[in-house]
């Protein structure tokens, strides 16, 4: 940290706004104004630079003190028959406070990003997988297959940081890395190698991926395939991909589950994962599921170690009761099964609570706009800007420290929800 009269410059700042959690950002802070000076991208710029507007809690639109807001939430929790704590854009200690409150208050917990996360979690719980992490990919990967995902829109620096680095630890020619898109086309050039080689694209609609993946797996296993094309892709083209995977020393299959938005995508992912296990009979291959931003990986991790289960667990009967379908927050809200929605969204002003008849409490990032003013709104600090924190990366292995960059006085989710829990 170096200071001049007006601004503070921070180095090696971690971004919690993207699942790869780049930690090489340089950030300038001037009062409450934050600017990304180096290594920013569309996602981190929006994440860090969204200005603070409101700083005062409100009850039914009227400004109140934090203490009043907290005791009002505690009252609502006490009266509620089935509280739902959802959204869950928060950091480690925020997630701990959510779990403690849910346990005490008999609430159900679920994350905004669960529809994507559960496409992977269901596979873990049914058959498992072989995965790898970002630094392994950066140093070992020779073939990268991107399945159904335009990763550069959600993970803008993935290729720069993980794929097209200057050198690998094992003397690999970086330009020789093969990038193959299966399904979606990439929207930009991030996947083009430094020497100008464009990624190969084997295009199909994402909804055709289950079929395409099944055929690819069959080809890798040497099963006879009668048809000549599947979803418009020539079998010969898939066969060539299968051969590449079999010949590669360290292939990596990646997808952003959030983009595999079709019914039972988990089954297609399971097929991919089983295929990767089979490739490992002779050579090395690993999956790299991409996701985990804005506390998504963190809340699932904390829920698992504190309760044994990831998101979509209810404490309504005084013990953790996990059901990935019944405890889906979107379903609960749609079916009017909750009378109190506590919405936590401390990273992203655009992730606002769903429309619901239930009484709504929002712990939201300052600047959040509502169609319907919630009963309680508490503008909270952003982990990694307004207070220190820790967050997990997409690989669920590395947890990175988040810095406090400014002194906005906004409370953390941990502070607010711990106070609510104490008041119950």
């Amino acid at each position: 940290m170096t200071e001049n009269s007006t601004a503070t410059i921070w180095h090696e700042v971690t971004s919690p706004f993207c699942g790869i959690a780049s930690d090489d950002l340089t950030i300038e802070v001037n009062g409450n104004t934050v600017s990304v000076v180096e290594n920013g991208d569309a996602i981190t710029l929006a994440g860090f630079e969204t200005p603070i507007t409101d700083t005062q809690p409100r009850i039914n639109g009227k400004e109140v003190t934090l203490e009043q807001a907290v005791s009002h939430i505690a009252e609502l929790m006490t009266r509620s028959k089935h509280p739902l704590i959802a959204g869950l854009g928060t950091d480690l200690n925020g997630a701990r406070a959510v779990m403690a409150l849910a346990d005490k208050g008999g609430a159900t917990v679920d994350s905004y990003y669960s529809p994507a996360a559960f496409r992977n979690i269901l596979v873990l719980q049914d058959s498992g997988y072989m995965t790898t992490t970002l630094t392994e990919v950066r140093n070992r990967m020779d073939v990268l297959v991107v399945v159904g995902s335009d990763i550069e829109t959600s993970f803008p620096r993935f290729f720069e940081r993980i794929v097209w680095n200057e050198e690998s630890m094992f003397g690999q020619n970086i330009n020789a890395r093969e990038i193959i898109y299966l399904g979606k086309q990439p929207s930009g050039d991030a996947s083009t190698s430094p020497d100008g080689k464009r990624a190969q694209v084997i295009a199909c609609d994402n909804t055709d991926l289950p079929e395409v993946i099944s055929v690819l797996r069959a080809l890798l296993k040497g099963k006879p395939v009668q048809v000549e094309a599947v979803a418009g892709i020539a079998i010969s083209e898939l066969k060539a991909l299968a051969d590449k995977l079999a010949a590669a020393k360290y292939s990596v299959i990646t997808w952003a589950a959030g983009e595999l938005d079709f019914d039972h995508a988990e089954v297609a992912i399971q097929n991919l994962c089983d295929m990767v296990k089979e490739i490992n009979a002779t050579t090395r291959s690993s999956c790299l599921p991409l996701g985990g931003k804005e506390g998504d990986a963190t809340v699932n991790a904390v829920a698992s170690w504190q309760s044994g289960y990831p998101m979509r667990t209810t404490f309504n009967r005084r013990y953790p009761d996990y059901d990935p379908f019944l405890n889906d927050s979107r379903r609960i809200v749609a079916e009017n099964e909750t009378d109190l929605l506590v919405w936590v969204s401390s990273f992203n002003t655009n992730i606002t609570p769903p429309k619901t008849a239930a009484t709504t409490v929002v712990l939201g990032r300052s600047g959040m706009q509502f169609d319907v003013e919630p009963e309680v709104f508490i503008p909270v600090g952003v982990p990694g800007i307004d207070h220190e924190g820790r967050t997990f990366r997409t690989d669920n292995v590395v947890a990175v420290p988040l810095k406090k960059l400014r002194d906005s006085g906004l409370p953390s989710v941990f502070e607010v929800l711990s106070a609510v829990e104490q008041a119950l």
Binding site: T131, E136, S286, W305, G308, V397
Partner: protein, 555 residues
Amino acid sequence: MLLKLTGGRIFDPAHNQNDVVRDIYIRDGRIVEKPIDGRVDEEIDVRGKVIMAGAIDMHTHIGGGKVNIARTMLPEDHAEAIVERTELMRSGCGHAAPSTLTTGYRYAEMGYTAGFEPAVLPVNARQAHMEMHDTPIIDKGGYVMLGSDDFLLRMMAANADQEAINNYVAWTINHAQAVGLKVVNPGGINAFKFNQRKLDLDEKNEFYGVTPRDILHRLSRAVKEIGVPHPLHVHGCNLGVPGNMQTTLDTIQSAEGIPMHLTHIQFHSYGTEGDFKFSSGAAQIAEAINKHKNITVDVGQILFGQTVTASGDNMRQFAGAPHSHPNKWVCMDIECDAGCGVVPFRYKDQSYVNALQWMIGLETFLMVDDPWRIFLTTDHPNGAPFTSYPHLIKLLMDKSFRNDMLSTLHPEAQKATHLASLDREYSLYEIAIMTRAGAAKLVGLADRGHLGVGAAADITIYTDNSDREKMFEKPDYVFKDGQLVVRHGQVVKVTWGTTHVVKPEYDVSIEKSLQEYFDKFHTQKMANFKIHNDEIVDDGRGSLTIQPLHKGGKL
């Protein structure tokens, strides 16, 4: 507040007290001298009761990525062991991979006051500490894992001098906030990334040309030279492979007198004799342990039933994956640092192999002479969940019970063991050595595991019962740092234990090459890798206890 425990039978091997009747005085969390004026604020009559220091589990997988994968993976295993919330305790669950809260409560209820996570990956250390932070009552700590990390192997391939390796080891222990150093399948996890499927003690990693023997040598020397009390904690090559007893015997030889702890030795004591080509090597291994005083072991006893195996050894876990039950498993390569594998498993008493594993573990317990050099573990949850310790203690203390159990197992396995002829029964004193005094000495905890003046008042009080399982599963009282936390086997107060660490000195020049390495190859900055002391204190509940180094180590 001065508390007096009156008239108990003291088993305190650190002070050679074997069933000695004396009073214990506690003030401010410590055991103190009898007050000069004789005034006490509270007295508990414990006449006739058995008193030991709180038990210490020196090898238990309670925190970190692989454990959490196991938790998330096994909803069906939790469903049979759901724990309701009480006024005092959080809800939770779990049998094979319990939630952190349940883990802490259950350990305390069995009279355990500390548990050590043996496989903390440097890049995952932050998570391990987060989970241990959420584990109530007991103290904790971790052994950080090196040996398959590319930084070390690069140093070794470049023939770095021992001083540089010592610096790196000390740096890692400091910044991962660890109390010891572990190596898992030395170099093997790394070799698996290059598609090598096995790595014997003298087999070279195909990229680095380094052998497991070299790695063991370098790391065990480093631990000794930087003064870390806990010897290098070794999960050897070829875990679970029939015939691996020879690797283990060679590993013991390779230590060349330097202290080395061989963990879950049961999984490394297999021969290849008999019709099943699988036999017990316990006798030879025990003989070698008895002979080599620099060697300590913990057993990693298996017990029958469902569990989950969670290990850093993804090379061996991948090989074992076809045996997963239920049929699901995870293997991971991790950050040019390590790996992990999680494979659920059910040990069956009518399986020849599993029955013999059970016998091999018990043979080892009974044939290693010195209870100061062998430790009671199931390698939780790999051999069995830690909640089976009282049952295991009964197997060790009660020959007729043991032989009754033995007679129900796979008949061919019974023929392959001479367990029935082993008459040894562990005494209470020996149990106190294995689970208290010896464990504290091994981990390097100066103020735990004993009942002398100045010790932390971690104390467990049992009613003597010839059914040792009943006795050890439900202590009458457990004190943690002087506070009564368990009464009649039930938690009555929830406290938060400390995290034990060591802080060996290193030369900061090591950071120059590390900085370069992180910048060039990693996806995280070196500064962000380091875990600061205040992260352990965290929300205020945590604390750090720095244990003293051995003489010879720089302070």
